[in-house]
Amino acid sequence: MLKGVIGALVPLLAAVLAFAFGATMLVALGASPLAGLDAMLDGAFGSGSRIAATAVKATPLILVGAGITIAFRTSVINIGGEGQIIAGALMSTVVALSFPDLPAVILVPLVLLSGAVGGGILGAIPGALKAYASVNEILSTIMLNLVMVQFMNFLLRGPIMDPFELEAGTRIPQTQRLSDNAALPTMIEGTRLHVGVPVAIAAAVAAYLILWRTPTGFRLRAVGHSPEAARAAGINVKRNITLAMTLSGSLGGIAGAILVFGSEGQRMVTDGSAAGFTGSAGFNGIVAALFGGLHPLWTIPSAMLFGALLTGATQLQRVLQVPAALAVALNGIIVIFVISSTPVRGWLQRSLADSGLFNRSSDSAGAD
């Protein structure tokens, strides 16, 4: 009983500490912490349309996070979310440019699928490099992120640049407004809640089902825990490593397509950096996944939390006129505090158990 309370209290306490830190910074910036909290809550959940915006913000995090879960569960460290999002976005953009007149019922699934293909390819490359050429995936995914940024700039200012930008000579790296038939339908009129949100949730559920309910996931997890034992049991380790990265990348790719055709303005645009298009979802998705204990379903609320932090931060800046950087710093602090609290929790529970405060048999099925 007390252990359960500790289990719940410690992370909560960590969150409170993190917010206390945030409050201190707000005071230092001459703003009222209460007003700050109010603004953040209001920005994230203040109205139906804001809740919708939070969900929309969480969408790429859910997708990338679910993908990260698949990779990490196979013991492949995928830091390539940024590149995979971009690859998916580019692929879906090219498809929408090529077949603008297809009816929406075909084009919408098609752009999502091509996003998955694009991201999948960018995941498969480091996956195969790791499996077949022993190239460390941390290195290759970080490097491929850099490659994709430049490839994106190349395409957006070259082959698929908005013809108007070329004509006007302004050459903003963006495409023309893409076919409306590819637009993800809005689900609730007057909000930004689009079909991408349920797609992401469905993808996370699918990731869960794949990992824990299918033979494929069984093999991925087996490879993740012990490539040697998996191999001796007849599982093709190299192929499964490649598969894990491909699946992981394809989820990131779907996020890219959703950004273009749902969350952003029906066109791909960047300031020349990865974050300029992705909003760092490729990194934040890792955080969401780890925060959700590398479980695809827990990634959903975890991503919502970070989505709320991000949308709340916009409001914070707008209402209190404090720099957006405050929210970023706060974000980092929350991650640090909460992640440090998890072991502390286990430790407290253990030492309380050791000190005899708990009846030992209560947590060991009466085996004593």
Partner: protein
Amino acid sequence: GGDDEAPASGSGEGGALRVAIVAPSASDDLAFTQSMVDSVNALERDVELSITDGTFIVEDAAAAIRGYAEDGNDVVIAHGTQFGASLMEIAPDFPDVTFVWGTASDTQGLANVFAYAPAADQGGYVNGSIAAALTKTGVIGVVGPIEAGDAVAYINGFKAGALAGGASEVNVTYTGSFGDVALAAEAAEAHLINDVDVLTGTAQMVVGAVGVAADAGVPWFGTQANQTSLAPSLVVASQVYHWEVVLEEMLALRDSGVLGGQAFEVNLANGGLVIEFNDAFELPAGVRDAAEALIEGITNGTVDTGS
């Protein structure tokens, strides 16, 4: 729509006009965003200003734009080309709010949207011609971010001006990033080794290149905002955006009940573009006069900047 009824002059305290800016980079970036903040502050009327900056992401910017409109601001400035699509969605929902969008050369047919764009090539042309007068080697270097936006217009204008002014070569390096200061610095170094003795550049990462120019004692030309503070003795001149010139026009229209629907350009002629000389840098005799004459020529259309 309340188009036919002139809106109150301001909804802020004491009738101050409530203006909000949503912009992609930092409000004190000595470049694009700062130019708009400075301009709003330079407006002659009483303004209550809110800023959301560092918001390149369209999605976040859209949330901020909508939020400002909901909060009852009179004017919301969406200071970034990429925000156009969001305005298409948001502007119709707030017919009493004036949205100001740039840099853009049309209003997408929206009745409560004004658009603005700079003729950055004009200041570039002037800077280029002065640079040509200063170079001894005849080779001039340009450090650009990625080949996009008003950076392109400025650089193309600069190039044309320099070549027309007698420079033999203008080498342009796009580093591939708006933010990588280290690469910008090395790009400047690379120019220096290749006989470049005058430099210019655009976007926020040029602060790295200015430092290199300053150390090497090479004259520098700025754009977007007055960059003299970065190298007080070596910045020759900066092309500065005075958006307030067109903003005043827009506000006057708003006062008269026209909430949008027109596009504006800042240029040397309307005073929206100003070449601000650094008096601490001593130009050779005649160069400044030639530059003034050139400005005059561009203003009255006798000089073509080539773009």
